[in-house]
Amino acid sequence: MPQVTIDNKSVDVPHGTLIVEAAKQVGIEIPVFCYHPKLQPVGMCRMCLVEVGTPKRGKDGQIERDANGAPVIAWMPKLQTACTTVVSDGMMVRTDTAQVADARRAIIEFLLTSHPLDCPICDKGGECPLQNLTMAYGPGQSRFPVESKFHNEKRVPLGDLIMLDRERCIQCARCVRFQTEIADDPVLGFAARGRGLEIVTLSDPPFDSKFSGNTIDTCPVGALTSRDFRLSARVWEVRDYPSVCAHCSVGCNLWIGERDRTIKRIVPRENEAVNEIWLCDKGRFVHHFATSSERLTQPLIRRNGDLQPATWNQALDLVATRLKEIQQHDPNAVGGLAGDRASNEDLYLFQKLFRRVIGSNNLDHRVGWSAANVGADLIRLYGAGIGTNLGALAHDTTALVLGADPEEEQPVIRLRLARSARVFGATLIVANGRLTKLAKYAKQSVVYRYGGESAFLLGMVRAIIDENLENIEFIRARVANFDAFKTALAPYTVERCAELSGVNADALRNAARAFAKSPDALILYGREAMFAQQNDPAVASGIATLLLITGHVGRANNGLVALYPHNNSTGAFDFGFLPDHGLGRAQVESKGLSAREMTCGKVRALYVMACDPALTSDSLVGTQQGESVRQDGFVKPEFLVVQDLFLTETAKLADVVLPAQSFAEREGTFTNTERRVQLFRAALKPVGEAKPDWWIVAEIGKRLVSGSNLKLETWDYAHALEITEEIAASVPLYKGMTCAALAENVKLPRPRSGQGNPSGEPAQIAMGELENISSGKMWASVAESDASAKFELVWKEPSSQYSVVSNQYVLAVARSLYDGGTLASRTKIVQPRVPAPYVEINSQDAEEIGIANGARVRVSFDARVIQVSARVNGHVPPGVVLMANNLDGTAALPMGARVKIEKV
């Protein structure tokens, strides 16, 4: 390791370290503008100039030494940029000399000749590196007359979300580099020359990227600002509360910036294991629902046919009385549905109410999904090892991404997987029934026929066995039934699987080799694979077999990651929100009713928390075993209680409506898609009389147990975090995940991430300090926690379902990051980003139908006819069409249905 001496402080750093990074290690701050630790250095701003010298070597190659034996240093005649110079052994660096100070002063004076210095009206003011460095290193006075300032255009909309101020730009290219290197949406670029150099957007629509908000953070000046937060408060007036994004299952860490009881802005909170310093634009901008005027503010009770305001006591008493009545008659006549957006505390108490007090297993969270078990066991057994970091999978790791579209569904995971592949050289194998954006980074991209998922997996298994690549040691020690499995597999040759799945046999073999030979390997499977799994049990067994025969379980960067649709889907599985699984994903003896059964009139009382079964907009409704199954409309049970933020379709039918608090108003924990449990804190005061979900459930619990022989105290909670403690003490999976443990290893206050302040100098956090909050904890899968656990291979016959019928297409259902969902539709600023409904179709099929890109077509299936415009491209294979769910008029699309397409 080279040793470098910076201002007389020596430090050993790895090869390839830049001077600016080495300096941080000895606590010396070198001012920078264009350098950013996450981006490639470019040396554009010259702010980081330092004096650099290396030991002088004589003709013999030996280091020359002076009289005292110290090496003679050859100082470079000119200053060097610390952000591009790599250290070498014996290097000397001086950052505290007059020459360096002079250079810094000159660079700042020069930058300010074309900078408007309108800090008082600039959104960056208060957390601006240019301000800070000018104060620290600037000249104080300029020698240039103020009239000679270079002026440029202000207030240039750079898309729907970002505003550009051309005068303020210091041409550091951080935004351009972020878009190119990290987001890989190269939609920004430079135009013109010299002082007139301008940032321009190259895409149509302008700044077309799902990560555009991050350029606001990385811009070291106020050139790029948020059109949402824009000029609505000063940053030091905004109070930041640590929270976790509630929009998708990545669970990005963020700060909620609050002022005057509203959310002013959301910025990323650094967590290298989850979101690094990034957020997608949905997480950043979709927050206006929290303070929407449509929020429910008080309990409602149906009287004479109308929902009328009531007090909490009236509403809760009514709920308790009616539930008790029905429960005493038959506990199984009471059902509970909870959305997987609710926090762990809410879910835990809800199931406790049902299992311990009401005595019913009628619990489900998969509203609109079919009754199949979507991977609860797989994750419990083979979930990826603790310490898995999807953003830093190394070159010896292979990740098989099956049936997922993270670009739209888990954007930050897409960004991080792409970085793993591009920067760290991890091998991605992307397999789906269509091409997704992630396929671009894949060493191997496989497009199978929808319905051929299991054949694809078995083909890989077979290829591994054929080439003797299985992990014999692991199989001997931990896997049962291998020989029987091999016998059953015999008729399925690689060629046969290739034919069944529509994948080339060589592609199957290549994928199998990469997966089996790689020291570390993961499978990430997404919504489309889960859908396949519910029709075809061989998908789940195929995934398990692939992991087991290669021994890729139970260690970091090995195992299975389920890419679930919602922020707390994992929590919902963990707390047993399945009719056949209980707390901690254990199987239960007496199976309860599924969501579908509960909503079609099989229960007398239904308690609905944080979901909207009357508007089943989930695409997993639809086909089963190849048959088109339609959701029989929602049947209102005798007694319906709905607990939600808004008067949803279900709430409109309810007998009692209870107003709940949004995630921004309360605290709790969410478990993200990697099973990482993360704590979040309250940022807002409650809206109206809204109460947290757990409080409402606990109040009902108290009323139900009073007078029975159950203990009342077990329903007495002062705070959500008391429930977190109870979970940590009583739920095996969450053992030891106390608030203290979840809040470990993070020091706060600290610099807010990504705010263009790579120097590490803490940004001022206004008004009071922040509470401790953590980077989260993952629970261990069985493969990891129990080294002696044996696993059995299960043989399931693959069933390929989608036979192609002429003139009909298989409908694949995608999700769009911005859609017509409850939360996004209440945020005006992202509305232009919501795509118009479309159908993607292969050019070959398009030719047959006689349509061109952009043509209007009529899509008909199951007595529904939708008119949309066609996108003709190569993303879907022939015979498949793709539509995004939940856009204008495309709610509740049935995945896998056969559709007809006609020209309009």
């Binding site: 210095l117 309108d118 008082p120 009206i121 002026h151 202000k154 000029l231 609505s232 408060a233 000063r234």
Partner: protein, 173 residues
């Protein structure tokens, strides 16, 4: 020893006697008012530019400087169609709580545009506490001419291109 302290009494009365012939210092307020020093710090005013635009640009620096946390500023974005002040930002709400204010003048000192000035009105009494929160309407001085009021359509702010007038110290002399 009937009057042991007669000396002190005489001394005191002599002061009284002398003052009886001096002219009185009491002002017959409110008929007569005491002249104020030019830099007297009384009730705040929000000033305007000569073209009627508000000097205040809603930057909240006064609020940040205020030791009593007496100022509340809610900024917003403006356009040429409805212009309040030079630049993109203006104060949608501006309030000073005179119950909290200690008349230190830090706000005036912090203001980059010379918008907030502590003027000479010291008659600050209210019948209720709400009235002591002086809103922007009450703080803002009237426009120099009726047609120069704000907000108004102003496609070209002319010399006021920048939010902060390019004058030394930011204050027009």
């Amino acid at each position: 020893m009937a009057f042991p302290d007669i000396g002190a009494l005489i001394k005191g009365m002599s002061v009284t006697l002398r003052e009886m012939f001096n002219p009185p210092v009491t002002y017959q307020y409110p008929e007569v008012r005491r002249p104020l020093y030019p830099r007297f710090r009384g009730r705040h005013e929000l000033k305007r530019h000569a073209n009627g635009l508000e000097k205040c640009i809603g930057c909240s620096l006064c609020a940040a400087a205020c030791p009593a946390d007496a100022i509340y500023v809610e900024p917003a974005e403006q356009t040429d169609a409805a212009r309040y002040s030079p630049g993109e930002r203006y104060a949608r709400r501006y309030e000073i709580n005179h119950i909290r204010c200690i008349f230190c003048g830090f706000c005036e000192e912090a203001c980059p545009t010379g918008a907030i000035v502590l003027e000479h009105d010291y008659e600050l009494s209210y019948y209720n506490r709400r009235d002591a929160i002086i809103t922007k309407e009450r703080l803002l001085v009237p426009p120099p001419a009726p047609d120069l009021s704000t907000p108004r359509a102003m496609p070209d702010p002319g010399g006021l291109y920048s939010a902060i007038p390019p004058v030394k110290g930011g204050v027009e002399q």
